[in-house]
Symmetry: C2
Subunit: 131 residues, 2 copies
């Protein structure tokens, strides 16, 4: 089993979880922010597919398992403190469960902090998740 | 004072802190990951300069106050859960305190999780911080 401790310092995260940023390797869009524990990083390295840790479900979250909207990992980077991970990915479909390319589909107005949807919806979440 | 609660749900973060991703608005590089509390977001909105919350110093961190490497905020986005903030910024100098454009200057080898510096150093940290 790969020792990931030289690459990433999981002791710096609360409950052994560290923030992970997923960025589209092709157009450089920031797609989403999620969390990894050590097992998630190990499985990501071994499979080449993004695997996160779901804080709500308290288990590994193999991105795209339900939706098919997987993330093939092209490159992994770590920050200067080795406590944040950046995944550069090839995104299938939409990264966001609401059907947008990126979870960051809303802009904040600096005047009144109101939100505006600024991206087009790519897919209908009902069709993907059957809700 | 601006009510930011419609834009961002700070109750979702431990200790009222939420992760913030800073991305260069010009070349789309992910520069760094930091944290904000409500006051940091309010001051960011009011001044147009990135203000974070330093978890180590337990106080507001006006990015670039010491180094001059400020971040002028061009756009603020929030994610679908309203618990992660994306700042698109105009970065002066280097975002990373180690003198790199981005804190994510090291790549992880998927075979053995070893790290390789893959970016050039832009500035000498000693000259910026006088260490």
């Amino acid at each position: 089993m790969i020792d990931v401790s030289t690459a990433v310092d999981f002791s710096r995260g609360a409950d052994g979880l560290l923030p992970v940023i997923a960025q589209d390797a092709e157009n450089d869009r920031v797609l989403m922010m999620a969390w990894m524990n050590e097992d998630a990083l190990r499985e990501t390295l071994a499979t080449g597919q993004a695997v996160y840790y779901s804080r709500s479900r308290k288990s590994l979250w193999r991105k795209g398992e339900t939706s098919g909207h997987r993330q093939r990992v092209k490159e992994i980077r770590v920050d200067c403190d080795r406590d944040t991970i950046l995944l550069r990915v090839e995104q299938t479909g939409a990264a966001c469960h609401e059907g947008y390319e990126s979870c960051f589909f809303r802009s904040v107005d600096p005047q009144d902090a109101s939100l505006t949807v600024v991206d087009p919806r790519l897919v209908d979440p009902k069709e993907v998740y059957g809700k």
